[in-house]
Symmetry: C2
């Protein structure tokens, strides 16, 4: 899927919500835990419930890898389920991979050939070698970490570079933009630093930004949209815990978790309605 | 395993060789390709043949992930095989993971609980949050990327920081050292930049360095030892392709690959003998 494809999907759905499938085994409802594939069963219901409000799903590899072989199996089952049932959803492997050229090629093959993801998140530390193999696939994307949502993003990402006094994350954005186009490169920019999105938009006015950190981490759709949206939206806002574990916030006693997918749908619908407002405000609407 | 444990192993074996198990499906001998678990069968023979010369094995996740579920299965089979048969080998998951705190915890669980690795390689871009969960395990290590062996390591790793005019990789080393100890933190420093090891030793005289890039990438044991060894060795030199695919350099016609493990053992033995010389030269020997 290219830039226009993603833009048109956002336009027609009036949402730029990405639902993060981070199925933490310790948080999924009790009645699912005894099933053979609890992570997959959980995801399946979440996907069915939230797909109407979302344009993308993001699978965070850590939550599958920590369950070993069976976790990886459920990772692939989830990706296959989305591909088969919701082929128009933009599918992201949140893997934060990054390695030398010959190894990066294998990671690209893992997510773009062996599995059919649209995009993979990439750690930029090792430079161009580690990003380029992902750009060799037509219609696929590298989503490069720029300014992340976690507190310790200030350890290295915001260090100033001697050459131009720019923070490292800006250097990452400018250099990475030379390696690809707006059709195959996005950047991860955390919602917890929403005001920084204005500065980021000065360097990359067009590229899509994948913005995690809304909900559990404290960012808001309104703020992210105010500072980060461009004339063609240019945003995918990810919500993981605040959507998929919305049921945890309900006081339902012994029945806790029975309606987890309904609670997730409500949380996703609320975010999507906020997104529709933001798109309307900006004039990114169907004529 | 702690610092002394690793040092004693190196001392008794007079080798600091780490064999990189990157079983590229396109390079493994033809006669193995029709087996049910070709990567594992290949690894098993390589492990048996090279274990006498090595103190560590490093599994690069990309080469397993690109084979999908069956690849992950063979990754775990390989790790289990080493644990069961060579429990004294230091076992590294070359995963280059790095994510926000709650996710990094899951990655740590994947490699230290679900699997029984001694160490995981970590990408430092996202800062302290992404490293600390790996340090919460007694006797386990985080091996943090500092100066890597690939050509584009100059894109970001060597950018000078305004505060102190240090290159980024030195900043990564100094800050990371504050989060752990020499018993749980190593750094990845490429053999292709051997002379830089002198500068790195000025900042971290004691920490072990994991040095890839010997062999296929052009680095040498002699150079790495001259610039990077300390009084307790402090080095693990990794060789992957030049050992495990040594058979590719032999002109054996139709029999190519039949003796792949013997060829790997010879390549490993040669590196180990170079390492013994380097240890002797430095006086790191059993009294």
């Amino acid at each position: 899927m290219d830039y226009n494809g993603l833009y048109n999907k956002i336009l027609s759905k009036q949402s730029f919500l990405c639902v993060g499938l981070d199925p933490d085994m310790s948080l999924i409802p009790t009645h699912l835990k005894q099933l053979e594939f609890p992570l997959f069963e959980f995801n399946k219901e979440i996907i069915d419930a939230t797909a109407p409000y979302a344009v993308a799903f993001k699978l965070n590899l850590a939550f599958y890898e920590c369950e070993g072989l069976k976790g990886w199996q459920q990772f692939e089952m989830t990706a296959d389920y989305i591909r088969a049932n919701y082929p128009d959803q933009f599918l992201i492997a949140d893997a934060k991979r990054g390695d030398i050229g010959n190894t990066a090629k294998k990671y690209a093959a893992a997510f773009f050939e062996k599995n059919d993801f649209d995009a993979v998140t990439i750690a930029p530390y090792m430079g161009r070698d580690s990003v380029e193999p992902f750009l060799d696939y037509e219609g696929k994307w590298a989503i490069v970490l720029a300014l992340t949502s976690n507190p310790s993003s200030s350890d290295f990402e915001t260090l100033k570079i001697s050459d131009n006094n720019n923070p490292l994350f800006k250097e990452v954005i400018s250099r990475t933009m030379e390696w690809g186009t707006k059709d195959n490169i996005m950047f991860v920019c955390g919602a917890t630093k929403a005001q920084k999105l204005t500065e980021i938009r000065e360097i990359c006015p067009e590229n899509f930004l994948l913005v995690p950190g809304v909900g559990a981490q404290g960012g808001s759709v309104e703020e992210v949209s105010a500072y980060g949206m461009n004339n063609r939206c240019g945003l995918l806002i990810n919500a993981s815990r605040s959507v998929i574990f919305a049921y945890k916030d309900k006081k339902t006693g012994n029945n806790a978790g029975i309606n987890f997918s309904k609670d997730a749908a409500e949380a996703a619908a609320l975010l999507a309605s906020e997104m529709k407002c933001a798109l309307t405000k900006r004039g990114v609407t169907l004529q």
